[in-house]
Structure formats: C-alpha cells, structure tokens
Amino acid sequence: MSAHTGQPVQPVEFTPHAVTLLRFGAVTRNAHRIHYDTGFARSEGLDGPVVMAQLHGCLMHRAAMTFAGRADGSWRSHGRTGHRPWPGSGSW
C-alpha cells in the first residue's frame, strides 16, 4: 500500500468498562490497583481506574492494521504513550 504523512487513519471505537480492565489485567497478570480499585485510583490523584497502556497499544495495532488493509496481518513496529482515559469514556 502507499501511505503519506497527513493521511487520515480511521479511529477505533472502543469503550472499556470495569470488566474489560479486569479481564485484560488477568490475562497479562497485571494486578496494579489503579486499574480496578476506584478508591485507590482516586487516592493516587486520578479520576478513576485507568486503562492499561498495553490495551491502548492493542487499539493502535487494530487501527494500523485496518489502515494497511491487513486486519489480521503482521507488522513491523510501533510506538505508543500512556494516557489517562477512564473506563466508559468512549472512543479512543
């Protein structure tokens, strides 16, 4: 495929909920309480439980694969940065 700087990438719509984070934390063996314990997350200065950076990465992967027209294909590399969206906050 051809691609150029500035070419739009279709957004991925995904609304994480508490169960989403619990499942994702379980399969990655991530027990950090900021991902499921609302009281603890707030004590850390956050608005609520936070989505794991790795789950962000999965959404970026999906967006990239869709952009490339290879929804299930392999790819070479990517970068990502942690953010603070909350469960139920809407699209990514």
Binding site: F14, T20, R23, F24, A26, V27, T28, R29, N30, A31, H32, R33, I34, D37, F40, E44, M52, A53, Q54, L55, G57, C58, L59, H61, R62, A71, D72, S74, W75, R76, S77, H78, G79, R80, T81, G82
Partner: protein, 158 residues
C-alpha cells in the same frame, strides 16, 4: 532521606545492570484469550483452531509474568510486582507506568519459550511543581531462535 530519595539512590546504583526473566512458553489459548480481552473478533487472533491463527503481536510484550503467576510475597500493597520498578521495593512511593515504545523484530509463535532481559538505562528528576522520578527500562524479548521485540518503557515514581 525520603522514600523518594531512597528510590532514586537505589535506582542510580543499578543503572546498566541486566536482569533476566523467564515468561515461559507461549500457549495459543492464552494468546487468544488476550486478543479477546482486547476486543478483537478476528478468528486469526482469537481462535487457535483457525488455520491462519497468529499470536497477537502485543501479547508477549504485555505480559508481566508467565503462566506460573506469582506468590503473594511478590506483590507490593498497590498490586504492582515488587521487582517491576527498579529501586522501589518496600518503599512507600507511588508508581505508575509512563508509556512504552515497542519495536518488533520477529514473530511470536505458540510454543516459543520467552526470555526477557531488562536493564534500567536512565533515572531522571522531572516536574517543576511536585517532582517525580522518571525511570527508563529497556527490555529485550527473545525466543530460542531469535530476538522478538525490544521495548523501552518508563515508570513514574512519586
């Protein structure tokens, strides 16, 4: 010295010192469960019986431990692993992941035994108001046949 200061001193003392971790053998069923938890629906990612099944490329680099899990004694009160953030074991400090950069160099396959080499490469003081430490850890994921991925991840210590 504050817990924050102790963490900085400890971390600086281990810059460049490699650690090794065994994540065990990749099972197709576990990789498929990971893909489902991430909201994937393609049979190639969620059905190990699909002829074109592939391990989700982010599965292995997202794993914090292998299938054996961990004992209670390996956790901090905040649920993080005691050895996850260099220099912070046993200290009353706040920890948070600060982002990752991932470069893939090989395809992960079911049956691969995954090893990880971790090295703390940088400790920096950040923040103009409330200061925090930004630790940079570089990880190399390997299977017997090749290097699979390189990850640079950052941790915030407050």
């Amino acid at each position: 010295m504050s817990a924050w200061g102790v963490a900085e001193e400890r971390a600086r003392a281990v810059i460049g010192r490699p650690e090794h971790r065994d994540l065990g053998v990749v099972r197709a069923e576990d990789a498929a469960e990971f893909a489902r938890a991430a909201g994937e629906t393609s049979p190639r990612l969620i059905d190990p019986g699909d002829p074109g099944f592939t391990v989700h490329p982010l599965y292995v680099v997202s794993l914090l431990r292998g299938a054996g899990g961990a004992d209670q004694s390996e956790f901090r009160p905040d649920g993080m692993y005691r050895d996850e953030v260099p220099g912070t074991d046993g200290l009353d400090v706040r920890l948070m992941a600060g982002g990752q950069e991932v470069s893939f160099t090989g395809e992960v396959r079911a049956g691969d035994r995954i090893g990880v080499r971790r090295v703390l490469t940088d400790v920096a003081r950040k923040g103009s108001g409330t200061p925090f430490l930004l630790l940079t850890v570089e990880k190399t994921y390997t299977a017997e046949r090749s290097t699979l991925a390189r990850v640079r991840e950052r941790f915030i210590v407050r």
